[in-house]
Point group: C2
Chain length 329, copies 2
């Protein structure tokens, strides 16, 4: 059994209140007493229990972050950005992946009970669950998800970059475009699709852009889309994918089939994950770390400053043109 504050008090011949004051570095303890307590604490290798302290102070000094499914590089980067700032603020970080689990909302609620605040990435929990957490006073920041009620949010700009991307493709001679993604499960993807469609329709293109819905935003799904298109001998001028992993999967399958990219078909992704650079994939760069870091700062404000008026951050993105959509790169 680890030593408690009472053991130290007995060892030093003082009361537990004095030990507490010394450990918390409060004022009003005589130097002689302080040294005696410190000596006793060192002797017993005493460290104050977080549990006792947290219960008395009614705070956790810990925040949580919830992310979906078996996150690829995108979420990992966001979480790392978050962790960096949280650690600076001397807060512990709890993570929770809702991967597949049907009891995700329970798990989130459970985590809320261990934290002073929560960051929620994407559509991991229902709007109703977010509302109910907020109603119970849980401090919340949403990332990659549109604001709900008066809950803070951090998002990357999607519309403008969707327009730039589409205009780039049009200027490269693209006349038919197929968007790959799942606008329902990912708010980001929904905005991207809307932005691409609008920009495409605004041009004098002959065909409306198509939408191919996939279940998961991963390489496998991208490969499946490529297979289907190859089997039907139905390739558009460009595949615009909702994220890089879809695009990479698609690209790999097209290359295996000997299709000329970008000659026959162009492919673009979104996020600019590390692999995109090496695959020569045109994409839209998101500040992934910065998304997490910003969320951590907003959450801290909510907890420490008791800020009440909501804030919504929109971080800039950047079109990155590579060889998968351009002959000059």
């Amino acid at each position: 059994m680890l030593p408690t504050i009472r053991d130290v008090a007995k060892e030093a011949g003082v009361s537990i209140a004095t030990v507490s004051r010394v450990m918390r570095e409060s004022e009003g303890v005589r130097d002689a007493t302080r040294l005696r307590v410190l000596a006793a604490a060192a002797e017993l290798e005493y460290t104050p229990s977080h549990l006792g302290r947290q219960l008395a102070e009614r705070r956790h000094a810990a925040n949580g972050i919830v992310f979906p499914d078996l996150s690829g590089p995108y979420y990992a980067e966001v979480v790392l950005g978050y962790e960096g700032v949280a650690a600076e603020l001397r807060r512990s970080v709890l993570i929770l992946s809702t991967h597949g689990r049907s009891d995700a909302e329970d798990a989130v609620r459970e985590m809320a009970g261990r934290c002073d605040g929560l960051v929620i990435l994407g559509r991991t929990v229902s709007d109703a669950a977010v509302q109910s957490l907020a109603a119970r006073g849980t401090k919340l920041v949403l990332v990659a998800r549109p604001p709900i009620g008066t809950v803070d949010s951090v998002n990357a700009e999607n519309h403008a970059s969707a327009r730039s991307l589409t205009e780039h493709l049009l200027s490269e001679g693209v006349r038919s475009l197929r968007f790959v993604g799942d606008p329902v499960s990912s708010p980001d993807v929904a905005e991207r699709w809307a932005g691409v469609r609008d920009a495409f329709l605004r041009s004098e293109s002959d065909r409306a852009p198509e939408l191919v819905t996939v279940d998961e935003l991963d390489e496998e799904s991208g490969a499946a889309v490529a297979d289907a298109a190859l089997a039907a001998d139905d390739l558009p001028d460009a595949f615009v994918c909702g994220n890089d992993e879809l695009a990479l999967g698609l690209l790999g399958r097209l290359a295996a089939a000997g299709v000329d990219v970008p000659g026959t078909v162009m492919v673009t992704g979104w996020d600019d994950v590390m692999a995109a650079r090496y695959a020569g994939l045109t994409t839209v760069r998101q500040p992934m770390r910065e998304l997490g870091a910003t969320a951590a700062r907003l959450l801290e404000e909510l907890i420490v400053d008791e800020r009440t008026e909501p804030r919504h951050e929109l971080l800039p993105t950047e079109l990155v043109i590579r060889s998968s959509s351009s002959t000059s790169h």
Copy 2:
């Protein structure tokens, strides 16, 4: 203020002990009473406080995982593998990156005070710190780090795959080899370098393998190594890198300089991160997720079963030959 067990007791007209029994689903509560308590709990939207519960039970139902620096894809994967299993076991997961911080050991100790057990990746904390945690009774599992005392460990096999890799390179005609990495800060890298050197020396090669030490195992360092070699006009037949990120950085710079890979120089990495596939990088695949998952299971055994004899797991690896070291791929 959130409702407490006393509020529910008053609302239901019972004692707090009864409420506790109902919430814990203990035996021996009459159905009529149980329903009354559940109704009161629902009415007040009561959820038991983790803090109070944990203090009374003297357990956290949470584990921590410590990883170095601002981890690239490798650590992210290990953490995800860990999280998946921990969540199944209904344990919360705390993460801590020791990135640069000089007070890393304090932070780890702090985290130990919040958890029932800890997984430590790589050389994030000193051997002495590990020993001292173990001595205080903290349940520990080391990953990607050789065993210390009687502390559990999980590692990927390095020697055999280092030999396979080296033999592959020799069979491709490599006569001079330069290893890139930091054997001091990473035990894995140290083993890899030792394995490569041994295998290379055992052949009838004319030159001993060289070692180039870098500060960080990232793309930037790899690029710097390439730059230095190019500037000195001193390219070996093969760069064998301690991880994929070094290799990718190196590869990118060589490609930019118009050097023929694998014709003029071959490049290999380690880990098989996602980007390695798209860069055509020869590497050694590690079961990254499985490393984390195994660590989670070992830790659970330590905590639940009070197992005392240490276990050391060695997970298999696999040589993956791609175009960066082979003309036939």
